[in-house]
Amino acid sequence: MIESYIPIFLILAVAVVFGVVSANMSWLLGPQRPNRAKNSTYESGMEPVRTAHDRFSVKYYMVAVLFILFDIEVVFMYPWAVQYRNLGLYGFVEMVVFIGILLVGFVYVIKKGALQWD
């Protein structure tokens, strides 16, 4: 059964090799004439102001955390969905309880304005 995964390794290897070869092809084929203007960071023609790595908003962090939590919920749903026909009403009620608890959390998050993107 693990034999069916070998083509996956193969295709990943081929895709990576293709990516690496083509990403470096232009370095091989094109001219290389660096000068100060070309090597500087782009800022619509001005000199760059401050470094790029200043602190950014915490909204992105909130999105990532909520994504993890809901991703775990989705992962729990996959085995449930595969066995759904065998689990019957009992399984349905279990999952509704699970979703319900997480929906309580979701409503809390929305009411608190954590997903407010202004």
Binding site: S22, A23, E43, F56, F70, V82, F92, I110, W117
Partner: protein
Amino acid sequence: MDVLDIAIALIKIVVMFVVVLLTVAELVYTERKISAWIQNRVGPNRVGWLGLLQPYADVVKLLLKEDIVPAAANRFIHTLAPVISIGVAFSTLAVIPIAGPTITLFGRTVHMVIADVNVGILYVLALTSMGVYGLTLSGWASNNKYSLLGGLRSAAQMISYELSMGLSLIGVIMITGSLQLTDIVHHQHGWMWNLVLQPVGFITFLVASFAETNRAPFDLPEAEPELVGGYHTEYSSFKFALFFLAEYANMITSSAVITTLYLGGWQVPYLETFGLSDGWMVLVQILAFMLKVAFLLFFFQWVRWSVPRFRYDQLMNLGWKVMLPLAIANIVLTGALLLFL
């Protein structure tokens, strides 16, 4: 698993690569032609007959340009990011079945799918999650405010819509009872395409696919007026081409996945009644699959030039406050219906 099986797998992989690369080239051309017709102009018609060689001219031009990496950029990650994007875009096609019956080649039965893994759908989703890194790392590695902001925004957009994608699939899995893509396609015989059985799921998955591939109307991260080039501002020459290659390859992959999951994959309704031999059936089914994928690709491009772009907060609100509850409601409804029917 011996050398001959590996050789057959490699042949399938190479054929798939070549077909996808050619299709991507054609997509570049059709995008410009379709946008031209929608905007009442002509589009490329100089290079080759009707301008069909235009994408190849573009590729050659981009190959011969200078590869500029800004001095402040992190060179290794700068080169790694498009490799991740393109690697993920191609690898997802390993689990898509393109025809039903098996053919015999060199004495072995060959299934018309590269890797028939029994967690097929999860493999597609896992690779989509890895694809987020391509954009995020390119934004970071360029050491440029615009790139970083574009990269972060597109990463946040992609992960928000990944949830709706995953949740829409639960309905399909509940109906089929298996994660294997070949089983899902086999289940959709006759008129029972999942499009009919899961209309809400189809719509949420379609919208989420638009957002995952960063296609309009969800293409704010690469919108020119807003963020210059977004995450690919500091990329030139072939790495820039690789990002676009990756975007079109992602379009092809998304269309193939939507076709497999909702439009019946290679199924042609009631084809068995014609009593064709295996070889002919394979050909007809491959053709049907390609027509469905082509229609979806046309749909992707049609929507781009017809609909205005979302603002970023509208986009995130849609993803979290509309699509997520809708997908969950779809699951509960499907569950209830399956119990009582």
